[in-house]
Symmetry: C2
Subunit: 243 residues, 2 copies
């Protein structure tokens, strides 16, 4: 794990790093090193480790909860090289959708393909980050919506260190079997008028989660219209389960 920058502002330390092929960002509270809860953030499609939505949530989790937060770039995103295979599939999918194919199953299949890389990558990121004195081996949470949900479901299912997860804006089609293996508390976000994820598919994914404690939060609006108060809810949810 190689750090490329190390800065601090408003009591929040930000370190950019590269772990093997994976560029990532780590945020921690300034002050004495001690073990603390760690949230891994999975960014959305087209976003990256320092996209505005990621940065806002990361800084709030550090400042308001005292947690550590890590965000890796997904392959083909941020500082990672273009993935010709992914671009080829995306182009082919666009053509199939224009020819009348349902977008949701194509997207789910694509997420499953990318997750075969991100699940082991994110586990390696947890290994590396939890060895740092200012993070330590505290409880882990995961938060990802949209692409971050498609990649998060197999990650949370596979990784026993994750003790609570916020997921959403995703559908069930490829991941129902993995969702059933998730048993930790989940807060699941659904946009009632989501133009990308059919409502029935999102409800089916919530239904498929194996967790005894899971809460669906549905709000009116399209895929990108998540209300700001749901960020407050995410902080409270992680505070309740990891704090």
């Amino acid at each position: 794990m190689r750090f490329t920058t190390d800065t601090s502002s408003d009591g929040i330390r930000e370190q950019l790093f590269v772990l093997g092929e994976i560029p990532g960002a780590l945020w921690t509270p300034d002050g004495p090193a001690r073990p603390r809860p760690l949230i891994l953030l999975g960014h959305g499609g087209g976003e990256h480790k320092k996209a505005p939505a990621v940065l806002t949530l990361a800084r709030r989790l550090v400042a308001e909860c005292g947690f550590a937060v890590v965000a890796p770039d997904v392959p083909g995103h941020g500082d990672r090289p273009v993935q010709e295979e992914y671009d080829r599939i995306a182009t082919a999918n666009r053509a199939r959708i224009e020819a009348g194919a349902e977008p949701a199953p194509l997207l789910a299949e694509f997420h499953a393909l990318v997750a075969r890389r991100t699940v082991p990558e994110w586990r390696a990121v947890l290994d590396a980050v939890q060895r740092l004195d200012h993070v330590g081996a505290g409880p882990v949470g995961y938060r990802g919506i949209s692409l971050g949900c498609g990649l998060g479901v197999p990650f949370v299912a596979a990784e026993p260190r994750v003790r609570a997860a916020v997921l959403g804006l995703g559908g069930a089609i490829a991941s129902a079997a993995e969702a059933a293996r998730i048993t930790v508390p989940v807060e699941f976000l659904l946009q009632w008028d989501d133009e990308r994820v059919p409502r029935a598919a999102a409800l089916a994914l919530f239904e498929a989660l194996g967790s005894a404690e899971k809460t669906l939060h549905a709000n009116p609006g399209r895929h990108g219209d998540l209300p700001a108060f749901e960020l407050d809810g995410t902080l409270r949810f992680f505070g309740r389960h990891l704090g």
Copy 2:
């Protein structure tokens, strides 16, 4: 409005009252009289103004938010006389359900009948209670689930003083048109495995609400299994909209 008892414990004043034919309970914080937000609680079927669930929520709203809370007995409940008409309908409904009829439409029809009395009654309760110096004419919220949702939808639709509502464990069948007239923020509670309210009917009621801001909170479990953390959510919701 005639008060029959006036007691105080743990900083919370409780007054039982009778307004015309309506017995009710009023809770307010001890201390100087001033206008404050007021929550009207609609109790569940078979419950009454001082049922444990009503009392717990009322005392928390007073102690943690500084609000006033009023809970009237629904006709045929608590200290009110038996309603032979309601009992006759309930008996007939049970027979029809045993003979194979769907329970949900029968329940919805019954709630609509009772609401023709409770809507004007609850408006009169607001009039009377808001004239008291220790309540005053602050913003009003409504909270009711199950029977309290069936009666609450027409009440919130009719009463412009209500500025935010927590509803749930109810279905759309009789009240979709009234739900569409509700425009205030709503938090809507749904039990995913509700044995009394079909999931599709509950989702349809959420869908029918005319509010620009409305959030569905769905949790696993049966009609009576609402998780305790949803009470925290109710307090935060009213704090955000009325506080």
